[in-house]
């Protein structure tokens, strides 16, 4: 089993539902986000367009973050997903510097309230404080908890354009392997990054 994702850039409409789903499902604190959209202008007036590229942790096969981690807090499971063991993370941020995709984020302090003027602590904030300790690095793990329940990652399940395909890259008969082969899917700036990203982009 080797989990991976393919993102069909032809289908992606840049709506940001993946970002909201990620935020909502993982309850990431204010200022922390594991799912992003990169907007780039292409062409010259009057023939211009905006290209949207969703970016998340690429769960690289040769993950620079795991290689540089001094304590083994960053580790890769057999299914290819890169995890962070909070109890071992010393907050050196070396993994953040090593990651070519900005996929890792640092908890600088306690989670900030979205509603600072309201005194009451909301339930989701209590959960955030338990799950996001200050001084540790956080990242996307392909919604491992959902995978264990037999579900797809939140961003995949929510995409209204069905631009994301999730599956087993080691199974040549899987839909993801078929689409990557058919459309010549490539990792984002894979040559420059050199980390063998396992999120593939199907060209426009």
């Amino acid at each position: 089993m080797r989990y991976g994702m393919a993102i069909d850039l032809q289908k992606c409409i840049g709506c940001g539902a993946c970002i909201v789903a990620c935020k909502s499902h993982n309850n990431t604190p204010k200022g922390i986000g594991w799912s992003h959209l990169v907007f780039e202008e292409e062409g010259t007036y009057p023939n211009v367009s905006i290209d949207v590229t969703p970016v998340l942790c690429m769960q690289c096969a040769n993950p620079a973050c795991v290689n540089v981690c001094p304590t083994g807090a960053s580790w890769q499971s057999e299914d290819g997903i890169v995890h962070v063991d909070e109890s071992r993370c010393i907050g050196c941020r070396y993994c953040i510097a090593a990651c070519p995709y900005g996929a890792r984020q640092f908890m600088e302090g306690k989670p900030e309230s979205y509603y600072p003027t309201k005194g009451d602590k909301f339930a989701f904030m209590t959960a955030q404080e338990q799950n996001f300790k200050p001084g540790i690095v956080t990242k996307c793990d392909f919604c491992t908890a959902r995978l264990e329940e037999g579900k797809e990652p939140a961003c995949v399940a929510t995409c209204p354009a069905q631009a994301r395909i999730f599956g087993d890259l080691s199974d040549s008969s899987s839909k993801i392997s078929f689409e990557i082969g058919k459309r010549s899917g490539k990792g984002l700036k894979a040559d420059q990054a050199g980390t063998e990203p396992q999120v593939f982009y199907l060209p426009r």
Binding site: H36, R88, A97
Partner: protein, 338 residues
């Protein structure tokens, strides 16, 4: 006179160290966000100063080793300088990761293939060598030539590993060019400063320092120009906060001290020039870090500008003051034993 100077260093160092501890305590409560780090500029003044403190520790040890190999007497000041610089480097890493207990985690769960672990143990080695040299000098024991060779080799190894820590990162290609050379040059600059302050072969040290500083400027410029191909405009390296850091480095850290050293042999001028060189190197390393962070493989929309906060500045000065205190204590002990 010397005793009075030591007393001033003791008092100033103690006051600054207390300030540093207070800032650290505040930072533990408030979180690292008070230092001005962002999700993309994740290292700042603490790490830049750490690099220079490590270079100073290595530089002092290097000069001590070279002096011994050249047949000179063991110099307690150089070992004391190396000890205090190593401690400052350790404190800065501690404050940058949040708490000192994180360093224990690094010791208990080491992954030796990580260059941060290699760097840590090289620093420990450098510190142990400085302590050894200091104790042997205090006890008037002869330092064998073989150990003097280690005093020269260990700092070079530390700088190469420290430089490779940055240069081997695919996420920020800017660091992949002249980083290792830059770290070695920083050590050589600090070694020359140590020689100037300790009045060892001042004429030679002065000219080597000026030559190395100029080489370092060229290497930095080469890094920036060489990386224009990656798609960043010149302003990404030389405008805004990064431009300020680079200008500070060149003007305050290179041109001014070089002019001072050429124009005068006065002791106060020489020591002031050495301090300016160290400050310039901090600005250089800050620029190097920020230039790398400004140039990731993928730029996310959440990127924000770097900045130094007052807390970070005061904390850094406080911890450097702790080094001054340790140096003064080492020299005080030394005097009593004579």
């Amino acid at each position: 006179m010397e005793r009075n100077k030591n007393k001033v260093m003791l008092i100033a160092g103690a006051v600054l160290a207390v300030v540093g501890v207070v800032v650290w305590a505040y930072q533990i409560i408030a979180g690292l966000g008070v230092t001005g780090i962002t999700q993309n500029y994740i290292w700042g003044l603490y790490i830049a100063t750490f690099y220079v403190a490590a270079a100073a520790g290595a530089g002092c040890l290097l000069v001590a080793g070279i002096k011994l190999l050249a047949g000179g007497a063991a110099d307690k000041r150089l070992f004391a300088g190396s000890i205090s610089a190593h401690i400052v480097a350790g404190l800065l890493i501690g404050i940058d990761t949040g708490t000192i207990t994180n360093i224990f985690s690094l010791v208990l769960n080491p992954k030796f293939s990580s260059s941060i672990v290699q760097d840590f143990w090289c620093l420990v080695l450098g510190f142990a060598l400085a302590i050894t040299g200091y104790v042997m000098t205090r006890k008037d024991k002869n330092i064998p030539k073989a150990l003097a060779v280690v005093f020269v080799a260990a700092p070079a190894l530390l700088m190469i590993i420290e430089g490779s820590m940055l240069s081997a990162m695919p996420g920020h290609p800017f660091w992949g060019t002249g980083t290792i050379a830059s770290f070695v040059f920083a050590m050589l600059c600090m070694a020359c400063c140590a020689a100037l302050v300790a009045e060892i072969k001042e004429g030679l040290a002065k000219w080597i320092l000026i030559a190395v500083m100029l080489l370092e400027v060229l290497i930095s410029a080469f890094d920036a120009f060489g990386n224009l191909a990656l798609g960043l405009s010149m302003s990404a390296y030389f405008a805004g906060e990064m431009g300020v850091a680079f200008a500070l480095y060149v003007v305050v850290g290179v041109v001014l001290p070089a002019a001072m050293l050429v124009a005068s042999n006065n002791r106060l001028v020489t020591v002031s020039a050495a301090v300016l060189v160290a400050l310039g190197l901090v600005a250089n390393k800050l620029w190097m870090l920020n230039a790398g962070f400004a140039n990731p493989v993928v730029t996310l929309p959440t990127y924000s500008d770097p900045g130094i906060t007052l807390i970070e500045l005061v904390g850094t000065i406080g911890l450097v003051g702790a080094g001054l205190l340790i140096y003064a204590l080492c020299m005080k002990e030394g005097k009593d034993s004579q």
